[in-house]
Symmetry: C2
Subunit: 168 residues, 2 copies
């Protein structure tokens, strides 16, 4: 299930690329700079869209890395344009997809350090639901909400992405 | 991992109960009816706070039920007050917590029907990441965003809830 969950998080980043297309279309149709959306936030003391994307990427990268016993690559938080954000998303997807299913063997027993909790660790079986799933979907949902609140034409199906239905 | 993920979703509903406390405090301090927050939405064509809570509850209930081979209980969507929303959350938690870890045995191979896809099913190993995780956290994050956008004093830690740290 570690592999399946990280794969879904990776798919969700691909869904996010589609929201960026819609954000660009919306800005073009309304004749404003898409950078306005990237700098938007839901409350004055919340983070902006760029940060939400960076954070979502960081947690996908951290999950794929630490749960497979690898130190995740470092990505600087220096994106300012939608093109740079797309690059950030794509290099995150590339890293997550480089991790094979068998590399998650024993993920539940791995002990993972958190930068804000010196001297403590969290076990992989807690890290996935508590840290990775919750943070990835929090930040993706905030990014979605910022666009949606600002009139970008995206809907719930764009959030969920494809569903693996089979014949009954 | 099925049990751990559903347990985390259940914990997230408990976190949501804490956001309702803050919503009530905020409404009392600002002298407005908390019902205003319950009817709030992030965009005119998005659903309101009450719906987001009902939906988050429904997906936790569905995950706990179908993945353990049980038909989940039916809960009518008739909540109008914050007290009724609390009851909805609590009966969802009670059902989810009634499912024991061993009841999720074989969850990945279960075939689950979706009301909008007649003649099709989804396997449990796809249902959990694609339908349950994504929908539970989408609706919880939208509920959080509605409150946060309206000035309720909640933060990221209130979204995440407790973390299972152990000594390194």
């Amino acid at each position: 299930m570690y592999y399946q969950v990280i794969s879904q998080c990776t798919q969700s980043l691909k869904n996010l690329e589609g929201w960026l297309d819609r954000a660009q279309q919306h800005a073009a149709a309304k004749k404003f700079d898409v950078g306005v959306l990237l700098a938007s936030r839901l409350a004055p003391d919340m983070k902006d869209f760029i940060y939400q994307v960076q954070s979502a990427c960081d947690y996908v990268k951290a999950g794929a890395g630490w749960l497979s016993g690898q130190k995740p690559p470092k990505h600087e938080d220096n994106e300012r344009t939608i093109h740079e954000l797309r690059d950030r998303i794509r290099k995150t997807i590339a890293f997550a997809e480089s991790v094979k299913e068998e590399q998650y063997a024993g993920a539940g027993e791995r002990k993972i350090s958190l930068p804000w909790a010196p001297g403590k660790v969290i076990r992989g079986e807690d890290y996935l639901p508590q840290m990775i799933i919750q943070n990835v979907y929090f930040h993706l949902a905030m990014a979605y909400a910022i666009l949606r609140h600002n009139g970008v034409e995206i809907g719930k199906m764009d959030f969920l992405g494809p569903t693996s239905l089979v014949d009954a």
